[in-house]
Point group: C2
Chain length 331, copies 2
C-alpha cells in the first residue's frame, strides 16, 4: 500500500487552523551570528512558540480535527517532553481531555508543566511496563484517540507551518535561501518543513541535523531504508532520541532532504551558550542542533544564506546553568 | 534658557538612519503571560537587539551624525554596561574610533565584550579617580566627541525608535494600548519612547519603572523637580542606578509620564525567572523591571492591553544561573 504523504495544501489549511492560537515566531537575523560565520544566517525561533517548542503546531492541527463523537474520551499521547506539553495545551484549547503517559522517573518540572497545561498524567515504570500497551488500553477504555508524535500526516502538516512562515518571512527580508537546517528525531518537523521549502523554493536544500550516535535519519538516507540507532540513551539532546525514522517522515525525507549532519554534545553545548551570550535566547540542547551544525562548520555558510530552526527552549535550569557557566569559566 | 526637546520628527529621521543596522525587534505576545495576568501583554524584546540591549539605537543615531572633521578622534563614553557596548559597536560601524572609560573593577566579560565591538578601553580607579575628568581629558587630547548615555537629544531620538516600532507593531496586531511600561535609569529610553507613544496614541499612559531605593524619577515627578537617590549601590539592577534624572529626560517625563513604579530585587528575580521558564528569553535584571512591575501587580492589567519594554539581556552567567536555579528549588 502506498503511503499517503501530506501535501503543501494541507500545510496551508493547517496554518488557517492554528492561526488564532499558535504564535508566528520571529525569524531572527543577528549581526553576531553573521559576523561569526561570514554568512547570512536566519533563525526561526520556535523556542518562543506557545509551550516553548514547535510541537504545539502539529498537536493542535491534529487534535482540532479529531471527531469528538468518535472519540469522546479525548486524546492520549506518550511523551515526557515537548510533545506532551503540546498535546496537553492543544487538547485543553480544543475543550478535550488529554492523558499523557510518562515515565515515572521523568523530571518533576516536566510532569508539573504537563499537568499545568491541563493533562492527566499517568506514570509508568520504564523497565517493567510497556508504554504503548498502556496507551492502547487507555484509548480503548476511554474512547480516546492516540496522537502520534511524528508519523501522522496532520501532525506533519502542522509542523510544516513553521516552514511556511519561515519561507514567507525570509522572502520579506529579501533573503534567497541556499539551505534550511532542521533538527530531527522522528522527523515530523523536518519533513513538514521540507514540504513547504521545496514547494516555495525548489532549489533550497533541506538538511536534517541529529546528535552524534543518533544519526538514524542520515544513515537511513544513505542506505535507502530505515535504520535504527544502536543506543537509546547517552546524548545531551533528550528531545532527539527516537530510535528510527517514521514511515511517512522517511518517505518525505527521501524525496526532500539533501542529507544530514551529526553534532556532538560539546558542539551542542557551544550552541546553547552562544544563544545565551549573543542571541539572548533560551534554547534546549535538542533545540540547538541546527545552530550547532552551523557554528561547528558542518555546512559551509560563508557568503551563503542559510536558515536554521531553533526548535525548543524547555531546558532544565540546572543543566542550563551548568552549560552557560562552563562558558564563563573558559572565557 | 529653554531646553530644546527632541521631536517626533527626529525619531522618524532616526529610524531611517538606524534602519540598515539596528534590528526591528519582535513585539511578543505570549499566552503564558496573558494567562498569568489576565491582560493582553505585549513585550518589546530589546534584549534581542544588536549588542543585547536597546542602547545601540541611540548610540548609532548620535554617532552617525558626528562631524568627523570636527572630531577626528572619534568618540568617548563612560560606562561599564550596555552604553559602552552600544557606543563601541556604533562607532565601529561608522568607521570611527571609540574610547570607553570603565572602572578597573568591571567584570572581565564586559571589558572583553566592549573591546570585541572595537573600542579602546581605559580603566580607572573608582575610588581615587574622576571618570568625567578622564573623559574630558581624552576628548581634548584626541579631538573626540563625548557621547552622553541619556541626556542628549540625538541619543533620546534614537532610543525613541523602539517606541515607534512598538506602536506600529501593536497596531498591526490590532492592539490598542492602555499603557506602556519602560524601565528607567537616566531616562533616555523612557523619554524617547514616550514621545512616540504620545504622538501616535495620546490616551496611552506611559509609566516608568525603577528599582526600589533608586526611584529618583518617580520622586522627581511627584516633587516637580529633579531628586537624587540616597544610595549609589545596592540593587540587583546594575544597569539602572543613575543618581538623578537628566535635564532633557526629566522635562519629557514631566510632559509625558503618568507616573512611576518601583520594584524590589525579589520581584525582578521572579521576572527574570519567568522570562527563562515561560518566554525562553534571557533578560538581565535591569532589563526586566517593567515585566516585574506587571507580574507583581504594580499596575492593574486584567482586561487591559499593556506593553512593556524588555530592555537588555547582558547578564553575568553566574548571576543568571543563580536566579533560575533558585526558581527550580522553590518549584
Amino acid at each position: 500500500m502506498a503511503l499517503e504523504l501530506p501535501s503543501f495544501a494541507e500545510i496551508l489549511a493547517a496554518r488557517e487552523r492554528i492561526r488564532p492560537l499558535a504564535l508566528v515566531t520571529p525569524l531572527i537575523e543577528h549581526p553576531a551570528l553573521n559576523a561569526r560565520t561570514g554568512g547570512r544566517i536566519l533563525l526561526k525561533a520556535e523556542n518562543l512558540q506557545r509551550v516553548g517548542a514547535f510541537k504545539f503546531r502539529g498537536a493542535y492541527n491534529k487534535i482540532a480535527q479529531i471527531d469528538r463523537q468518535q472519540f469522546p474520551g479525548g486524546v492520549v499521547a506518550c511523551s515526557s517532553g515537548n510533545h506532551a506539553q503540546g498535546v496537553a495545551a492543544a487538547a485543553t484549547l480544543c475543550g478535550m481531555a488529554s492523558v499523557i503517559v510518562m515515565p515515572a522517573d521523568s523530571p518533576a518540572i516536566k510532569i508539573k508543566r504537563t499537568r499545568g497545561f491541563g493533562a492527566e498524567v499517568i506514570l509508568y515504570d520504564r523497565v517493567k511496563e510497556d508504554r504503548d500497551a498502556i496507551a492502547r488500553r487507555i484509548c480503548a477504555e476511554r474512547g480516546a484517540a492516540f496522537v502520534h508524535p511524528f508519523d501522522d500526516r496532520d501532525v506533519i502538516a502542522g509542523q510544516g507551518t513553521a516552514g511556511l512562515e519561515l519561507m514567507e518571512q525570509a522572502k520579506g527580508m529579501g533573503a534567497v535561501l541556499d539551505a534550511v537546517l532542521v533538527g530531527v528525531s522522528g522527523g515530523g518537523l523536518a519533513s513538514g518543513v521540507s514540504i513547504a521549502v521545496k514547494e516555495l523554493s525548489p532549489k533550497t536544500e533541506v538538511y536534517c541535523v541529529e546528535p552524534a550516535g543518533f544519526d538514524d535519519f542520515a544513515r537511513s538516507l544513505t542506505a535507502g531504508s530505515r535504520q535504527r540507532n544502536a543506543q537509546m540513551a547517552g546524548s545531551i539532546c533528550d528531545a532527539l532520541m527516537s530510535p528510527t525514522p517514521g514511515e511517512i517522515t522517511f518517505a518525505l525525507a527521501q524525496r526532500n532532504f539533501a542529507g544530514g549532519f551529526a553534532v556532538t554534545d560539546d558542539e551542542v553545548r557551544e550552541a546553547v551558550r552562544f544563544a545565551f551570550e549573543e542571541l539572548k535566547m533560551v534554547v534546549e540542547p535538542g533545540g540547538a542542533v541546527s545552530l550547532a551544525a552551523i557554528l561547528a562548520g558542518k555546512i559551509p555558510v560563508k557568503g551563503r544564506t542559510v536558515a536554521a530552526l531553533i526548535t525548543g527552549g524547555n531546558v532544565d535550569p540546572a543543566m542550563f546553568a551548568s552549560i552557560i557557566q562552563a562558558g564563563a569559566k573558559a572565557a
